[in-house]
Structure formats: structure tokens, C-alpha cells
């Protein structure tokens, strides 16, 4: 019971912890770039504080940013918790929709939405900063997009874990060891998730030291593509989208059911046995926002040059 709870928790809740970490790192990066562009000493000081406080928790670091504050995380988690409860309660009824394919269709739409909002967050982070921070409306939009990502990831992944807990409580077992196993599993699993999230955040903080560095935004994009692939696999599962034979298998190198496999699957949608269609979608899902991002940057530079010569 203990190991199984830890595994289910890792599978369900690690994406939530990772997305919080990635969004916080992205916010910090935006703050750093903003200070470099505007020469704002207060912001630079705040960013400096975040960079040097090794013992600072992820949540405390968020207090310094504009978009994701501790209050935002708590409020979003509260709403997400209600959605999770509703989803897990209505799961049996939802599964009966669309001739038994209800859950797959609904969840693939939600995965698609996560990817859509992550693209928006990515494109905003690629937008030239002088424009972005002069326009408070964009900052407000950015804030809403981040909250939407958090809410969706929490709802989708949290509902599976909530359903697992709900299913366990319906079984007739000896109460004391049963609940002790679950509680211990939740504590250990949460500890592992939190450790990975903090390590990722500090890794990004170390890598993203330059204002021009955008590792956090690229990792967030890869996370979004991973979510899209999960949605795609759900549609393949119910034969809505055609699936082809596997192109290769890297199971002997990194198995999907290994610890590293779990982590990589969640982080960037690692797939040991991809099909041609999955590979095509994966590459397109990365290249499309990258091209749009480059186009936006090019357009801005072109406009700046034209204005300068005039």
C-alpha cells in the first residue's frame, strides 16, 4: 500500500509541483530581464535576493514576483481542489459519455488547453520586454494565463489521485495499517515531489543568470508538449486518432516505468516507443511556437529599426 501510494502520487502530483517550479522560474527570469532593460534598481535588488538566498523556499521566492504570489497559489489551489473533488465525484458518469469514451475526450481537451495556455505564456515571454512591461494589460494577461495553467494542471492530475484515494476508502481492509500506509505514502511522495521541484527551480536559477537566457520558458514549452502528448495518447486509446507502429524502442536505455522514466515523461513527454504520428506531432508542437516566437521578435526588431531611421 505504501509503495503503491507513493508511485500513484508521483505519477499524479509531480506534474503539479513541476509546473509551479517552472512558472516561478519563468517569473523570476522575466523579473531579471525587466531589471536589465529598465535599469530598475529595486527589481534588480529583489532578483539579486532571490539568486543568493539558497535556503529560500520556492514559495517565498514567488512573493517577490508580480504574477504568481503565494496568495495566488493558495487561491488557485483552493479552486482547483473544488474542481478535483467535482471531477472525481462525476468521473463514473463522465466515463459513460460519448459511448464510453467520455473521460478520454474530456481529459484530452483539458491536456490540449494546458498546452494552449503554455504556448501563450511562452509567446509572452518571447515578446520584447520594452513593450511588454510598458503595457500593464499584458502583465495582467500573463498573470491570468499562469493561473489558468496551474488550475488546469492541478485539476487534471489531481483528479486521478483523488479518485485513487476515494477508491481505497471503499475497500474493506483493516483500518489502522491501511490508513497508516496511505498517510506515510502521501508524506514520502509529497517530500519527493517537493524536493524535485525545488531542485529544478534552483537548477533553472543557476542556468538562467543572464537576462537573455530563456531556459525556463523552453522547459515550460517542453512540459506543455508532454501534456499534449498525453492527450494525444488518450485519443489513440479510443481510436479517435489513428496510431501507427512504433518507430523505435529506447526501453532498454530508459524504461518508462523507471524513476527517471517517470520524471522525463512528466518533464518533456519522454516516450520510449513513439509512433511516426506521435513524433510528427511532438516536433510540430515544439517548432510551431518557436517559429511564432522568432517571428514576433523579428517583427519587433524590424519595427524598432524602421522607427529609428525615421
Amino acid at each position: 500500500m505504501l509503495i503503491n501510494t507513493v508511485l500513484v502520487l508521483l505519477q499524479s502530483l509531480l506534474p503539479i509541483f513541476l509546473v509551479v517550479s517552472l512558472l516561478l522560474a519563468l517569473q523570476r527570469q522575466n523579473l531579471l530581464t525587466r531589471s536589465a532593460n529598465t535599469g530598475d534598481e529595486t527589481i534588480a535588488k529583489q532578483t539579486e535576493q532571490v539568486s543568493h538566498l539558497d535556503d529560500l523556499s520556492v514559495i517565498s521566492a514567488a512573493k517577490l514576483t508580480n504574477s504568481i504570489t503565494l496568495a495566488n497559489v493558495i487561491n488557485t489551489s483552493f479552486f482547483a481542489f473544488i474542481i478535483v473533488c467535482l471531477l472525481s465525484y462525476y468521473m463514473p458518469s463522465l466515463s459513460q459519455l460519448f459511448t464510453g469514451n467520455g473521460l478520454e475526450i474530456i481529459f484530452s481537451i483539458l491536456f490540449g488547453l494546458i498546452y494552449g495556455f503554455i504556448i501563450l505564456a511562452f509567446l509572452i515571454s518571447q515578446k520584447p520586454l520594452i513593450n511588454r512591461h510598458k503595457d500593464s494589460r499584458v502583465t495582467w494577461q500573463n498573470s491570468l494565463i499562469n493561473i489558468a495553467i496551474l488550475l488546469l494542471v492541478f485539476s487534471v492530475h489531481g483528479s486521478y489521485f483523488s479518485f485513487y484515494l476515494k477508491s481505497l476508502t471503499t475497500q474493506s481492509m483493516s483500518i489502522t495499517p491501511f490508513y497508516a500506509g496511505i498517510v506515510m505514502g502521501i508524506i514520502i511522495g509529497t517530500g519527493i515531489c517537493l524536493s524535485i521541484a525545488i531542485l529544478l527551480y534552483f537548477f533553472l536559477m543557476t542556468v538562467d543568470k543572464k537576462p537573455t537566457s530563456k531556459v525556463a520558458s523552453y522547459l515550460l514549452l517542453l512540459f506543455g508538449v508532454g501534456q499534449l502528448m498525453q492527450g494525444l495518447q488518450l485519443l489513440e486509446q479510443v481510436d479517435i486518432i489513428a496510431s501507427n507502429s512504433h518507430l523505435w524502442s529506447t526501453s532498454y536505455l530508459i524504461s518508462e516505468d523507471s524513476e527517471l522514466g517517470y520524471f522525463l515523461t512528466i518533464l518533456f513527454g519522454y516516450e520510449a516507443t513513439p509512433s511516426a504520428m506521435e513524433l510528427a506531432v511532438y516536433i510540430s508542437a515544439i517548432l510551431l511556437p518557436l517559429s511564432v516566437g522568432k517571428f514576433i521578435t523579428y517583427k519587433h526588431h524590424h519595427a524598432t529599426l524602421t522607427n529609428g531611421t525615421e
Binding site: 481505497l168 486509446q237 481510436d239 486518432i241 489513428a242 507502429s245 512504433h246 511564432v292 514576433i296
Partner: protein
């Protein structure tokens, strides 16, 4: 920027439309798996290679289970006293393990994908529908 995103969504929806399986209405070989007392019956199933099949999983238990397989890339919640349908393949010959995520110690099985002619048991399963 939102106009660009709208255009991308439009193009993506067209791509997805092309990807939608034209064979949604096509008949697939049907196989049946039963979950009883947290055990899968049959624990080993033979299916044809390079062919997409329809797998009906009948959960006869009073508790929820989740059919999970990393090698098959499949994950499906099985509600008590309900049938669930998933599609598998086309797969190359080999052994593909699956398990019940909520009872991984007891609910385990393997799908053997074989080039050989359909066995008697699978033929029988084909007549389920």
C-alpha cells in the same frame, strides 16, 4: 498575438482532422479481458501482430481499478461492474505486460503479440460481440 494564436489553432484543427482515424467505423478484432477478485482473466492473451485490436475489459469487482501498461501506452480507469473499451496496436511481435494500478501485486497480465495464426481461444474471444 492572439490573432496569430487563433490562426495556429485553425491550422492545428485541420491537421487533427486529417489525423482522425478514417477507420473509426471499421471492424476491429475483439478480445475480452475480465477482472475478478483483483485478478485478470486470462492472465496471458495472444493477439495478432501489426493489427489494431479492440480490447473489452469487464470489471466484475465492486471496486475501481486502473488498467495500466507502459509498454502498450495505455491507461484506463475501470469502474465497478462496468465494461471499458480500449484499442491496442498495431504492434510488432513481443510480450507486453499490463497491471492494475490499484492492485499491482495481484492484478497482472501479459499480452503476447504473435505472427502466428489466431489461436482457438482468441477466435472464441472474437465472437464476443
Amino acid at each position: 498575438m492572439f490573432k496569430i494564436v487563433a490562426k495556429i489553432s485553425f491550422i492545428t484543427s485541420y491537421i487533427l482532422l486529417f489525423m482522425v482515424s478514417a477507420s473509426v467505423l471499421a471492424q476491429r478484432p475483439v478480445f475480452k479481458l475480465v477482472l475478478k477478485n483483483h485478478l485478470f482473466y486470462p492472465a496471458e492473451m495472444i493477439i495478432p501482430a501489426n493489427k489494431k485490436i479492440k480490447l473489452i475489459i469487464d470489471n466484475q469487482d465492486d471496486s475501481v481499478e486502473e488498467f495500466d501498461s507502459f509498454s502498450l501506452n495505455r491507461e484506463k480507469v475501470l469502474f465497478p461492474q462496468q465494461q471499458a473499451i480500449i484499442y491496442i496496436g498495431p504492434l510488432p511481435p513481443g510480450h507486453y505486460t499490463f497491471f492494475g494500478e490499484y492492485h499491482p501485486n495481484s492484478a497482472r497480465g501479459v499480452i503476447t503479440v504473435s505472427d502466428a495464426v489466431l489461436t482457438k481461444s482468441t477466435k472464441k474471444a472474437n465472437n464476443v460481440n
